[in-house]
């Protein structure tokens, strides 16, 4: 089948795969032999489950306390391709879907509904595939096109539209619990739109679904992973992050792990596995150990936050890097003796870096401002959790040294820091306002403050005003600059690590020499104070400027030279004998050298300046494999404080085995998830595609195909589609064609009362789908109908107008940033609206849009008065009414009827009926009269964009009419 659209009835039937030969008989049970059906049904599979369901029988469940046996539940057996049922009404059948649909209808003694008219059909296809209504011209063209290829062309056009990826990407983003903020109390903004755009592009490119999943689970582990493949792992990072004061970061890392498991279960496997987090699953054969074995695949990663670049930025970055490389080659060329000179420097550095002892101080809890300083094995601390924008941490350490001459502070990179650190700011930078040390006798006694002599560092940015993201509203001019700023006794100045784009995310090392050595006989107790006051005014926002990871050391040796210290990384290169050094190591050392020595300062500055135009890029939360894996243990009752037996990465024994070797990696797990033998993966996906086209899945509980699932309405159809999907290369576009070309999908939605009563949810497929479109689409439809829609695809999220008070206390926990977009960004698709988890964009919240707290594969569709208030009164909907009115007046035609028709068709696609026309003409006349009495009101409603020569009363009356049209049930409904 593949991408070929299915057109000719019957001709595409494929031979049956066996196993379902008698399925038709089984389906008929409730209607031909209801009695006794409840007995002995288990083991007969989905068809029976469906049969029993429709007969209103409850299936025999497992005995209380015992989960269902794997062989007893249809969804735990890999799907086989059923043969297509023979039906009487064969002429109706257009695609294989219809054979199954008709078989069911015939069993029920029902006739299908007539085919919907072409206007309705195009509108339905457009809304379901792109989330946008067809333009009036497209409707006219389609209605006029009588060629046999017309329908296929229309579908091809829609599937090739970039808006297709936006619509279907959004369905996946629900499952991927996408949001632009962290959730919990702070709910800070995060940059993850690269992931969102990756999803849209993958869907537009029809990336096979198995690869789509593999990249999201383990794109970073693929050979020569591209930036896109790394970005795809953002799927696993869409979990919430709690940086409330006083939290234990490990507790909430575990919460995020549970969330990832839940997302994998619901969105990929179609199983609710979260029960097994605390105990063996009550109904499905998933044991608690199974859960933690799968958990182990995902448990070996850094929660990384990496810089990412658009294709354009990647070009600019490459250019900048090439310029640097050329300048460095030139420098070597002008200093042919550079290796010898560097060797001298190497010798000095090697000598001076010896004799340091890492201090392993204890953190004074009271001084952390709520930030967690997590000790690392190398004696460093990693800052996590809440990030106060101003605090001074104090740490104490006792050393046997009786005479200390210098103190070293290393700022280290870490994958768990923004852009790899070494700071915690959103740029990965840090600022140290002041560094103080006091010394006291180890045995107790008065402490004396160390008086500083010289300070030296390998990173010494020029003094510069503090970046405005750290504005503390004090109006005091604050600076960052060289390391001397950390010991100048001034609160306004700080040692900074920001050496500009392309350079700033590197380790930095500073050495502070005491003017006079300090120490006491019998050992010395040192108290380090690291003042970090160069953050902004709001600790609930991304305004911290804290050290991210750092290590302290002391020495008793005397300072010998002016040579600045180097990072541990550079020391590592130094340790490699010259003959064995790689090119990268030589380059790293060369850079450290020419930046360190005074006579090349000018050249170093000039080379640095070549990176001034290096793109800032954006960031993306991703997973990054740890060098050392974590030990995974079963957590009693899911409590991270109660670890018990240790488990290795494995999959549940009752499910299919891992294809190939199980190396415990995410990649092995990902391959397992999309293996042909997976019983639920393809079923779960095709069921959701069906759900999004028809309003309900073939299995209505689409998040759970386990033993507690609703039985499928058309079990063979579900399996046929699942097998077809896998065997035709996991192509979503192919699947859409199969469903959308079917006679079942083309039926009219109109239904008589008795049918509505008999089949309120259209599970029998005796009519076409009809349902209110999703929240984002409600807004998109209004924008498209009025012509305001800005159709640009991708980019950072935008901020359409929203009531400001929502983002301020006491409604929001802290003040949130909602910089209302101007220009076209106000009118971008709902997909691009910024998503705060704790304060969702209200229009979406009211229209049932999930806020991304957890994976959602099925939205509710409610119908409430608050929704009516939105579409009548929300400012953006008013903009749409005004624009639709203007358009109708300007180019809708010559008289009221023509203009009404144009506006009506922009909203509903079809022509208005005579009665509808009369209603609308009446409204227009009455409104003209009202505005004649109240011309001021007319002007207010008409807005500022009055057409030349148009009376505000006239234009205002059309706004009233347009507002009614945009609020029609039909306008926001897939027909």
């Amino acid at each position: 089948m593949g991408d070929e659209p299915v057109q000719t009835p019957r001709s595409i039937y494929l031979p049956g795969g066996g196993g379902w030969n008698e399925s038709k008989q089984v389906t008929s049970i409730p209607f031909r032999a209801q009695q006794g059906a409840a007995q002995g049904l288990r083991g007969l599979g989905a068809a029976v489950a469906a049969a029993a369901w429709w007969a209103g029988l409850s299936l025999p469940q497992s005995a209380p306390g015992a989960p269902v046996k794997p062989e007893d539940h249809w969804a735990f057996q890999a799907p086989l391709r059923p043969s297509l049922p023979a039906v009487q009404n064969a002429d109706w059948v257009r695609t294989p879907v219809d054979g199954f649909a008709m078989a069911r209808l015939e069993d029920e003694g029902l006739m299908p509904a007539p085919e919907a008219d072409r206007v309705t059909l195009l509108r339905r296809w457009s809304l379901t595939l792109t989330g946008l209504p067809p333009a009036v011209e497209e409707v006219d063209r389609f209605v006029a096109d009588k060629a046999p290829e017309a329908e296929r062309r229309a579908l091809d056009r829609l599937l090739a539209s970039p808006h297709y990826g936006e619509r279907w990407g959004r369905h996946w983003l629900d499952a991927a619990r996408y949001a632009d903020s962290d959730g919990f109390e702070k709910d800070k903004t995060r940059e993850v739109w690269f992931y969102r755009d990756w999803v849209v592009k993958a869907i537009n490119d029809d990336l096979p679904y198995d690869e789509f999943i593999i990249e999201q689970l383990a794109g970073d582990l693929l050979p020569d992973a591209t930036q896109d493949q790394v970005v795809a792992t953002g799927f696993l990072r869409n979990s919430m992050v709690n940086e409330e004061g006083g939290i234990d970061p490990e507790q909430f890392r575990m919460e995020a792990m549970f969330d990832r498991m839940d997302a994998v279960g619901k969105s990929i496997l179609g199983l609710t596995i979260q029960c097994a987090q605390c105990h063996d699953h009550k109904f499905d054969p998933i044991k608690q150990t199974d859960y933690y074995r799968m958990f182990a695949f995902l448990n070996n990663d850094h929660e990384a936050n990496v810089a990412v670049y658009t294709p354009d930025e990647q070009m600019r970055a490459a250019e900048a890097r090439r310029a640097v490389a050329e300048a460095e080659a030139e420098l070597q060329h002008r200093h042919p003796d550079w290796k010898e000179r560097m060797a001298e420097w190497e010798e000095t550095v090697r000598r001076e870096s010896a004799g340091w002892e890492v201090a392993q101080p204890e953190v004074e809890e009271i001084s952390t401002g709520g930030q967690k300083y997590l000790p690392r094995e190398d004696g460093s601390f990693l800052a996590q959790g809440y990030a106060p924008t101003k605090h001074t941490v104090t740490m104490t350490a006792t050393t046997p040294h009786e005479r200390i001459t210098g103190f070293r502070l290393e700022l280290l990179s870490d994958p768990d820091l923004p852009r790899g650190g070494p700071g915690r700011s959103i740029k990965g930078t840090a600022a140290l306002t002041e560094f103080r040390v006091s010394a006291a006798p180890a045995a107790g006694g008065e402490a004396i403050e160390v008086v500083w002599g010289e300070a030296a560092a390998d990173v010494n940015p020029a003094p510069a005003p503090l970046d405005k993201i750290f504005d503390d509203r004090s109006k005091v001019e604050r600076l960052t600059g060289p390391v001397s700023f950390a010991v100048d006794g001034k609160g306004e100045t700080a040692w900074g690590t920001d050496t500009g784009p392309g350079r700033r995310n590197q380790p930095a090392t500073a050495v502070f020499w005491a003017k006079e050595p300090v120490g006491f006989p019998g050992g010395t107790m040192l108290t380090f104070s690291l003042q970090q006051n160069h953050g902004g005014w709001n600790s609930d926002d991304n305004q911290n400027h804290n050290l991210g990871r750092f290590r302290l050391a002391v020495t008793a040796v005397e300072r010998e030279s002016e040579t600045p210290p180097v990072s541990e990384r550079t020391l590592g290169w130094l340790a490699v004998p010259p003959a064995e050094r790689s090119e990268a190591q030589w380059l790293g050392l060369f850079r450290a050298w020419y930046r360190a020595i005074p006579d090349l300062r000018e050249e170093a500055t000039a080379i640095g300046a070549l990176l001034d135009d290096y793109p800032e890029g954006a960031t993306q939360l991703v997973l990054q494999e740890r060098e050392q894996g974590r030990v995974t243990q079963v957590l009693k009752r899911g409590d991270f404080l109660k670890p018990s037996e240790r488990v290795d990465a494995a999959v549940p024994a009752f499910m299919h085995p891992i294809p190939g070797e199980n190396d415990g990696s995410r990649l092995a797990f990902a391959h397992w998830l999309v293996d042909r033998e997976s019983a639920t993966t393809a079923r779960a996906l095709v069921n959701r595609v069906w759900q999004n086209h028809f309003g309900a899945g073939l299995v209505s509980s689409s998040e759970d195909l386990g033993s507690q699932a609703e039985a499928p309405s058309h079990p063979e159809l579900l399996d046929w589609l699942a097998v077809e999907f896998m065997e035709s290369g996991w192509s979503l576009k192919g699947l859409h064609r199969l469903i959308l070309m079917s006679a079942a999908y083309r039926q009219s939605a109109a239904a008589a009362q008795d049918m509505l009563a008999r089949d309120p949810y259209n599970r029998l497929l005796a009519r076409g789908p009809r349902f209110r479109v999703e929240g984002e689409i409600v807004r998109d439809v209004a924008l498209a109908a009025s012509g305001l829609l800005d159709r640009r695809v991708g980019g950072p999220s935008v901020f359409p107008p929203a009531p400001d008070f929502l983002f301020q206390p006491p409604v929001s926990y802290g003040p949130k940033v909602w910089p209302v977009s101007t220009g076209g960004d106000r009118y971008r698709r709902g997909l691009y609206t910024f998503r705060y988890r704790s304060v969702p964009y209200p229009v979406f919240q009211i229209f049932d849009v999930p806020n991304g707290d957890f994976s959602c594969v099925r939205r509710v569709r409610s119908n409430t008065p608050l929704q009516a208030l939105v579409t009548m009164n929300e400012p953006l909907f008013l903009d749409c009414a005004r624009e639709l009115a203007r358009k109708a007046l300007d180019c809708g035609g010559d008289d009221d009827r023509e203009r009404i028709t144009a506006a009506f068709r922009a909203c509903a696609g079809r022509f208005p009926g005579e009665q509808e026309m009369a209603e609308l003409e009446g409204l227009l006349q009455r409104q003209r009269e009202r505005f004649r009495e109240e011309p001021d009101q007319a002007a207010e409603l008409a807005g500022t964009s009055i057409l030349p020569g148009c009376d505000p009363g006239e234009q205002g009356s059309w706004v009233v009419l347009a507002r009614v049209l945009l609020n029609l049930d039909e306008t926001i409904t897939l027909p």
Partner: protein
């Protein structure tokens, strides 16, 4: 919060929404007839399976006001008198007591801090109340104080979510949602569950505190404001007069009805009613929040000032909402996180809230509404007996805290439970958050184990798999 189950045969939200309009909203016989016409047996079947509008046993309480003191007020300064703690002021807590204790900010082995305010006995029940709460002291014979509350969480967002939804996991329906799901709404022009905010910040748990989780969105808390537009997007656009709006909605209704006749989809009927109810809400909500019509003595009793947003105004609004048929009102007042500045902040907070909270109890009682209205006061956890900072702060503490509850079948004048002499652990008649929820649902007419909703193959309930009704709290 809206990832909801919507085709579950036991309680279909589409049908539920319709029922909400046609049955629970009391919109008249004609509409009910329309409802059954549209839904036939299927609708009737859906209506009969769940508890909505039908309680498991006769309800003692029909309405709820939850005064949620977000940030976690100090039980030791307000409701739980600990003279022994004063004696140990400045001493370290016993090592055995703090073994395995996890604190949010402080080292558990921090010095004990004696209570900062005096307590005295009040009323005929002789309840001990802090000097910070003189107005509440006047109502002690009408309220029950629980001094043995315990919870599982000691960070704000999880703690608040647990108190409001019975789970630390985001995405569960809130207590207010469960209540309106169970009892429906008596209002034809206002939402069943209304949320009001005051205080210094918003609640840490955000809108998940009043979300409907997997329950249909009609049960979600709707934020009201005491000034401006009381409900989002309530006001018509500039230039749309009432008569224009009426004409627009009526035209819309006629146009939608033509579609209904042609297509038959009952959702169109629901949409027609949504617009009609929205129109009515536009009329009634501004009147509702206009406090200027309240008599002077009532305004004084609450300390409310028309037009000036405050906790006091919100308390008075809560009463007005209940009078108009709203089922559940929750006030969030986030101001109680006293890691420092304990003394002054508590004085200020009590000045802002004590009068109004007590006035609400008195006012409801005077109007005869207290007997079937539950008023609940409390935060997400308590505060440590140990000091944070110098001598004027307390950290988060889940092991013991205090709440008070009045009306709706709660035993008045009750003092339930006790914490140990340091106020560290609840030791007598411990009441877990789940037990509180079970008890409150019991008073609302529900067996907490049977008020369920099927989602993801499981019957969910407010109390998860926990909770026992606290018989001692019942009148």
């Amino acid at each position: 919060m809206n990832c909801q189950d919507h085709l579950w045969r036991k309680a279909d939200p589409v049908a539920t929404t319709r029922r909400w309009f046609f049955q629970d909203c009391g919109v008249g016989l004609g509409s009910i007839a329309l409802w059954s016409l549209l839904n036939g047996e299927a609708g009737a079947a859906a209506a009969g399976t769940q508890g909505e509008g039908r309680t498991h046993h006769p309800a003692r309480a029909k309405r709820v006001i939850f005064l949620f003191m977000a940030g976690a007020p100090s039980h030791l300064e307000l409701l739980d008198h600990k003279p022994e703690l004063a004696r140990y002021d400045g001493k370290l807590p016993p090592a055995g007591l703090i073994k395995d204790y996890r604190a949010a900010f402080i080292n558990p082995s921090s010095r004990l801090l004696g209570p900062k305010f005096r307590f005295a006995r009040h009323g005929s029940c002789g309840a001990e109340i802090s000097e910070l709460l003189p107005h509440l002291a006047e109502t002690v014979d009408d309220i029950a104080i629980v001094r043995s509350m315990v919870t599982d969480a000691f960070n704000h967002a999880p703690g608040q979510i647990l108190m409001n939804t019975g789970s630390q996991q985001f995405g569960r329906p809130s207590f207010g949602s469960w209540t309106t799901y169970g009892l429906g709404s008596d209002s034809s022009d206002l939402p069943g569950f209304v949320v009001l905010n005051s205080g210094k910040k918003g609640p840490s748990g955000g809108n998940s505190n009043w979300g409907s989780g997997f329950l249909p969105a009609v049960y979600q808390g709707v934020q009201f404001r005491g000034s401006g537009d009381p409900v989002l997007y309530l006001a018509d656009p500039p230039g749309v007069s009432r008569s224009t709006q009426k004409d627009s909605v009526e035209t819309l209704t006629r146009l939608n009805r033509l579609q209904l006749e042609a297509i038959g989809d009952p959702e169109i009927a629901t949409r027609i009613h949504s617009f009609e109810m929205a129109y009515r809400m536009q009329e009634s909500a501004p009147d509702l929040i206009d406090l200027s019509g309240e008599p002077e003595h009532v305004l004084r009793m609450y300390g409310a000032e028309p037009g000036k947003p405050s906790y006091a105004n919100n308390c008075l609004l809560a009463r007005r909402l209940l009078e108009r048929g709203v089922r559940f009102v929750e006030l969030f007042h986030e101001a109680w996180d006293q890691h420092g500045n304990l003394v002054n902040d508590l004085k200020e907070n009590c000045r802002d809230t004590d009068r109004a909270s007590a006035a609400l109890v008195k006012d409801l009682k005077q109007r005869g509404m207290l007997e079937d209205t539950l008023v609940i006061w409390g935060g997400e956890f308590g505060r440590t007996p140990m000091v944070q900072g110098g001598s004027d702060g307390r950290d988060h503490h889940p092991n013991a805290f205090s709440m008070w509850i009045a009306g709706g079948g709660i035993r008045p004048g009750l003092a339930l439970g006790a914490s140990d002499e340091l106020g560290f652990n609840a030791v007598e008649d411990r009441v877990h958050v789940h037990d509180l929820h079970a008890t409150l649902l019991h008073l609302l007419g529900f067996d907490h184990k049977r008020l369920t909703y099927r989602f993801q193959g499981r019957d969910f309930r407010l109390t998860d798999v926990f909770g026992n009704v606290v018989e001692k709290m019942l009148a």
